[in-house]
């Protein structure tokens, strides 16, 4: 290894007579490698029929987990909205009932503008907003991509299942 720049060399082209021969040989070698792929197993998936095996940490569609009995887990702290890099992507409307318990009136996420960074999932204090291994989000209009609380919520048992597969305590009350 040297820090000194060394003189550039002029690279001699091989003499003409064996160029043809060596060229043919090398092309033959390349083709042999290419042909050896014919018998190998295919690495591509026939997508709509075969779905890829996604990791549990996959950054896909967002969801709101609920408590085990199906009631809201979200406490309306708006931490997720604050760390989201896109302005006003997560919109939360909430009020407090007689016992000062939070009630979530509205929770909308515009999936069309979400960049699937996972920031929101990381700061949620109650592990409520999480991601699903679901990437099939295409739709016919932008409005259809704005998911409201009903679309986002993952009810009772599904939420427990999510927590189980992600190494969290499954039942939350």
């Amino acid at each position: 290894m040297t820090n000194e720049p060394s003189k550039s060399q002029h690279i001699e082209a091989p003499a003409d007579d064996n160029r043809v021969l060596s060229g043919l040989l090398e092309i033959g070698r390349g083709l042999k490698t290419v042909l050896s792929h014919v018998g190998r197993e295919a690495v591509t998936l026939e997508y709509p029929e075969v779905l890829p095996d996604l990791s549990v940490r996959f950054h896909g569609r967002l969801c709101l987990l609920t408590k085990s009995d199906g009631t809201d887990l979200c406490i309306g702290c708006k931490a997720c909205a604050r760390v989201c890099p896109c302005d006003d992507l997560i919109q939360i409307e909430m009020h407090r009932d007689g016992d000062k318990k939070p009630v979530i009136d509205q929770f909308t996420i515009d999936m069309g503008r979400c960049i699937f960074c996972g920031n929101c999932t990381e700061v949620c204090p109650v592990d409520c907003i999480k991601m699903l291994p679901d990437f099939e989000l295409a739709d016919y209009s932008r409005e259809a991509l704005v998911l409201d609380k009903y679309d986002l919520t993952l009810k009772g048992e599904d939420a427990d299942e999510w927590r189980r597969t992600h190494g969290l305590a499954p039942s939350v009350t």
């Binding site: 290894m1 040297t2 820090n3 000194e4 720049p5 060394s6 003189k7 550039s8 060399q9 002029h10 690279i11 082209a13 160029r19 060596s22 060229g23 090398e26 092309i27 070698r29 390349g30 042999k32 490698t33 290419v34 792929h37 690495v43 996604l54 990791s55 549990v56 940490r57 996959f58 950054h59 931490a79 604050r82 760390v83 989201c84 890099p85 960049i115 699937f116 960074c117 996972g118 920031n119 990381e122 700061v123 991601m131």
Partner: protein
């Protein structure tokens, strides 16, 4: 950075073949005129949206002007309106082929500012991610470069291997390309159990695949004819334009930040810096192929010496520690609220027990110090950090005024400087060589425009 030493004399115009070609247009008096050809911004070979306004006369390039900015997304300005954590995911889009590097410079700049200590395990995981990222980036380059030269099959082979590595990234970060994984003083989550073995499996396979690539491309007469002796640069030119990375090393300069100023734990691993002396397209090809093998060597060493080993063992250890902690807590409780007909344990004994409670060594952790990401404010000051990205020197300059938002973030992308040398390499050269030369520089447009 290495110090400048006297540059070797090598002018493009001294190259054999050049004067002959120019002679054709003059001697024979062909009535050729300068013609302006507009390449891009939607040209498949410009790998992004680059426009090259090229003046040619016959087949000879007389002038070339890169027009950039089509991908400008004001990444630097965005930092000023967002908190540090909020800004972080957008960094992935600065340089989407090797975004672990962008994250690394950003978090290390912040760590330097806020004086956060980083556990060794974190550094090792980061280094594995970065080296694998170098391989994916070079693989993409290999595929598209040969595609530009007209070879289609290697492109698919390179993407197949790249996909295998992306699967590893997906397992650890949750995303294939936009990782958002490094955190201030740590990483987002520990590697999943068994991940290290998966990595080992993939990288054990790779050298055989590289052999296959080289069997196809190395001595192929078309590749050789189009690459050897084409696009030769001089050392002085590279210095003048601030070119770094494999293009620099292909000119015989072993300038690699991993060796010259070792960051992270690069001083703990053994590796060589591949160089070539010819400074042509073929030399750049050789350097990149050799670099991928060096990266594999580095990853092997990191896997063997990973502090804490596989995360499954660590989790077990953590559980044991938690059990002890529980026992201590229970004992403490009994000291204060001793039940009737039960002897309260000696308070001093319990305190001693608590003192000896096992703890996970600092180097085994995945975050050095818990940082509240929402209200994180590094103290006022400035920091600059650099890494050797697959394309060259990548730097991030960060100024903080003590508020949750950065005062200024400046990116030093390697692609920008590497692109500026293109006109000087092209002027006087053959127009058909453009794609070979441009491809060999491995430029990524989002990093140029930011």
């Amino acid at each position: 950075m290495t110090t400048a030493s006297p540059a070797p004399e090598l002018s493009l115009r001294d190259k054999p073949g050049f004067s002959d070609l120019q002679g054709v247009t003059v001697e024979h008096g062909l009535n050729t005129q300068d013609m302006v050809v507009n390449i891009g911004p939607q040209h498949p070979s410009t790998h992004g949206v680059l426009r090259l306004v090229t003046t040619i006369n016959g087949e000879i390039v007389k002038d070339m002007e890169p027009v950039i900015g089509y991908l400008h997304r004001s990444k630097e300005k965005m930092a000023e309106g967002r908190s540090y954590f909020q800004y972080q995911p957008t960094i992935d889009r600065v340089e989407y082929l090797s975004s672990f590097y962008d994250h690394y410079v950003y978090v290390t700049a912040i760590e330097a500012l806020a004086d956060l200590k980083v556990p060794k395990r974190v550094e090792y995981i980061r280094m594995i991610c970065m080296e694998l990222n170098r391989i994916t980036s070079h693989l993409l380059w290999f595929g598209t470069f040969l595609l530009d030269l007209g070879a289609t099959s290697p492109f698919f082979y390179a993407f197949r291997e790249r996909e295998a590595i992306f699967k590893l990234f997906e397992d650890i970060t949750g995303a294939r390309m936009m990782y958002n994984y490094f955190r201030f003083g740590g990483v987002n989550a520990d590697a999943p159990p068994g991940w290290l073995d998966d990595v080992r499996k993939v990288i054990n396979e790779l050298p055989f695949r590289f052999d296959e690539y080289e069997a196809i491309a190395n001595k192929n007469p078309i590749v050789m004819d189009r690459c050897i002796g084409v696009g030769v640069t001089s050392y002085q030119d590279l210095l003048d334009y601030g070119v770094t990375g494999p293009s620099m090393r292909a000119c015989g300069v072993a300038q690699d930040m991993r060796k010259t100023n070792p960051y992270s734990c690069y001083n703990e691993v053994e590796f060589d810096v591949p160089t070539a002396t010819e400074g042509d397209v073929y030399a750049r090809y050789k350097v990149r192929m050799a670099e991928m093998r060096e990266s594999i060597r580095i990853v092997h060493q990191l896997l063997d010496n990973m502090p804490g080993g596989d995360s499954a063992e660590l989790r077990k250890l953590e559980k044991e520690h938690a059990k002890v902690a529980e026992e201590i807590a229970a004992a403490k409780k009994r000291v204060t609220v001793a039940k009737k007909n039960e002897e309260a344990p000696n308070a001093a004994d319990v305190a001693k027990m608590a003192e000896k409670a096992p703890e996970l060594p600092f180097d085994y952790r995945t975050t050095g110090q818990k940082v509240n990401l929402m209200v994180f404010k590094p103290p006022a000051g400035e920091a600059f950090s650099m890494v050797e990205s697959p394309r060259g020197m990548l730097g991030c300059y960060l100024v903080s005024d003590g508020t949750p938002k950065a005062y200024r973030v400046k990116w030093r992308g390697a692609s920008f400087s590497n692109l500026t040398i293109l006109p000087s390499m092209m002027i006087g050269n053959l127009y058909p060589d453009l794609m070979a030369i441009f491809g060999s520089l491995d430029i990524i447009l989002p990093e140029v425009d930011r």
